[in-house]
Amino acid sequence: MGHIEKLSRRAFVLGSAAIAGGIAFGAFGTAEAAATAGDNPLSAGLGPNSVTFNPWVEISPEKITLIAQHADIGQGVGSVQPIMIAEEMDLDPGQFDVRFAGPSPAYFNTGFADEFAPFVAADQSPAAEEARAKTLEWLRQAGLQMTGGSSSMPDTYEKLRVAGAVARETLKAAAAKRTGVALAELRTQSGHVILPNGTKIAYVDLSADAAKIPPVLDAKPRDPSTWRLLGKPMTRLDIRDKVMGELKFGIDLKADGMLYASVKLNPAKGQPLKSYNASKARTMPGVKKVLEIKNGVAVIATNSWYAMKAVDTVVCEWAPSAYPAEQADHWKVLESSFKPEFLGKEWKKTGDIDAGLKTGKLVEAEYRAPYVGHQPLEPLNGIGLVTDKGMEIWVGHQSPRFVQYVAATAIGLKPEQVTFHNQWTGGSFGHRLEYENVRVLAEIANQMKGTPIKLVFSREEDFLQDVPRQIAIARHRGSVENNKIVSADLALASTAPLKGLLERSGTPSKDPDGQLAAGLWNVYYDIPNFRGTSYEAQGLSPCTTWRSVGASTSGFFTESFIDELIHAAGLDPMKARIAMCTVPHYRKVLETVAEMSDWKGPLGNGRGRGVAFVESFGTPVAEVVEVSMTDRGIKIDKVWIAADVGKVMDPVNFENQVQGGVVWGLGHAINCELTYAKGAVQQTNYNHHEAMRIYQCPVIEVRGLENDPKVRGVGEPPVPPAAPALANAIFAATGKRIREMPFNKFIDFV
């Protein structure tokens, strides 16, 4: 468990400037390093006459296999990542198989360098880049393999193209050696090396030859202007199988001799089972066994439904929760966390904040964001088999190496004794970064040695065990004078989502949670006196990363409050933001959404528009929401959204992701919260936690910009501006300022 220990000792950077070591930045270097045989996890499983040039390409005499580095949680990396390699290799869709990466430090995530280095994304100064280079080296040493933080594109944009170029040039070199034709006279097309006389040699026919020569490591990826596939509308490789109902998700798998399991776990998260009575469950049909596990009970049966119905009848006595039993007390803890002893960090301080606050008209407001669930539609599940040799586990997860660690730790194995097979997942939104199903499955399979066990959580159990999004209160102050914002003093108290996740991953950190800075300190407005401070509330519910993480709450607080200041200063919300924006290509994002929506100020007649701008994970996003008042409540009519990702790899999937982010952001802002009573979450199915259904979905117009010098992700960044843009629109339409999510506690929606 090398990387785990390293992570623990070094602790996560999380915004701390203390990073040791240093290498030159560049994904080219990472591909070179990974191309050496010792680091390449594909080398071990290679068949006869086969070759692998790096951890992403494998060629046998029968087929070409490309590795999707990241977990596909619906964002489409299982398609676009192999296509990035295929672009360079001159392969066409259909000419290669795709496999998900297994656990290996070779798949460490270079894309986290930007998020973890203690500089805001817009800062691309030499000092910032040097810190990112050091962070990158640390990530490499840690071997941190994780899908998240909208990092899949930043991580792979260079290295997969280099990986493809290395494969292409090595295949050409092999063909040159075999035929005696000069390398410069060879070209590649559609899975073949082409000789000057038109003779074609298929890549698969070159695998044995290519294995005998060293890979051509200085191969350069092509200029984007020559792309055949990337940057153009493409058909995702998984679309057909998903539409035809043929794609197998983790929950659809079957193993010979498999039995089914379902669980009832202590709803006081993380606390043990005290006692139980399963006398009824044991008499029910299909039931094979009732097992006691650390924090609950499992029923093994011949059918998932038998297991769920039986486990439902088990009467359990639970240890009480470690956090307050009642929701009101969670809020009280937050209210009393704005104190020096709970200080996370003062992330940014410019000007003279105390003098600034005394200048002009003071504006103060408190905002709240509740716990929210992830609840992807495919419930937590997995198949596990424990034998004398170790454990094999089939589960869709975003952190392959941590799955090994968690499963192994649960049953006394070493991580390398756990063989992990990643699966297609029915959504995640952060859910499949947590481990409850993994840990429980390991315990069950260990008690059922030799029998493959398929664990499926009921929806109710999934809700009860869902580690929620952070809960937070913001107390923001600011001042305006002479139609200008003079000061903004942003302070929030919150639970720490990333810290919690890292602790459960076996890599605890004492540093302040950098996700609580997201949306709080990366505020790109020219406000002369500014301060951004986080406080970390203690003793509340465990929390974790939820699509867009810290910015999902801070973005709402900051952009609502900026709107309040703008209105207090008597300015137009759009024009003021554009005028105050200090980063030229971020300003362009705002100008674009102003142009798309034809923003001309107040609409009147019970209609209103709101705008919000948030940069998260390096991607600046501006959204305009238009609403109208009806006799049944607020109707969301239309959304315009612009995002700058440096390069749009697939315009179709880009639009789909962005629209989905808007739906996610709006839906949860309107009607979702998780509340605790007697230590358990009260919402246990979608009727209590509905988010957006199609009848509420507005028309969403999307535009992608390519001005950022770096390639950025787009899975999460559309989420943070959605809630504040909606709240600002409701204010414009009704004069009512909503400062707490979910909004339906304060106003009706159609």
Binding site: G74, V243, M244, T283, T302, P379, W664, N685, M692
Partner: protein, 179 residues
């Protein structure tokens, strides 16, 4: 139809669990044109007969309480939430899942779903498609409001709703053009 037992209503799990006696029965049903026999309790939802007994996995388990629509199949030509249809009621009827749609590749809804690249994670989409087919059977050229009304029982956590609307309109247009 096999009896559920005295005083039992379909879907009333609490009552069922309280009165449970554990009798299984042999049921015969036709799925995608093939006859199957399963030995289960009459209360078992069709969803779990399909998935765990017969290995037919396009109907998905999402919520178990008819809140998400991911398990939608056709029973005697009607779109039904298979998590709420007990095998005791379904026995003898004809069930069609997405796997068994006739001329699937040519189905305008299937084609539109591929052309518009509706899925993201794709988990809800088999249910969305079965519901959309049912919608177009009843209303050949639905408005957005009619789409919203019929499709609102089908949850999509990824938020593909704009594409679902577009694909239904495209499928409707294609069906009209083919007539």
């Amino acid at each position: 139809m096999a009896a559920l037992g005295p005083g039992l209503e379909p879907g009333d799990w609490a009552v069922w669990t309280a009165n449970f006696e554990g009798r299984t029965n042999m049921f015969e049903l036709t799925v995608n044109g093939t006859k199957h026999r399963v030995d289960v309790v009459p209360e078992m939802p069709l969803l779990w007969v399909l998935r765990d007994e017969l290995g037919i996995t396009s109907p998905k388990f999402g919520c178990g309480v008819a809140q998400c629509g991911a398990c939608t199949v056709r029973i005697d030509g009607k779109a039904v939430r298979s998590c709420q249809a007990h095998i005791g009621e379904v026995a003898g009827k004809s069930v069609v899942t997405l796997e068994g749609l006739e001329k699937k590749e040519q189905n305008p809804v299937i084609q539109a779903w591929i052309e518009h690249q509706v899925p993201q994670c794709g988990y809800c989409q088999t249910g969305q498609i079965m519901q959309a087919i049912s919608l177009l059977d009843r209303i050949s050229n639905p408005t957005d409001d009619q789409i919203n009304q019929v499709m609102s029982g089908n949850l999509c956590r990824c938020g593909t709703y704009p594409r679902i609307r577009a694909a239904i309109h495209a499928a409707a247009a294609k069906k009209v053009a083919e007539k």
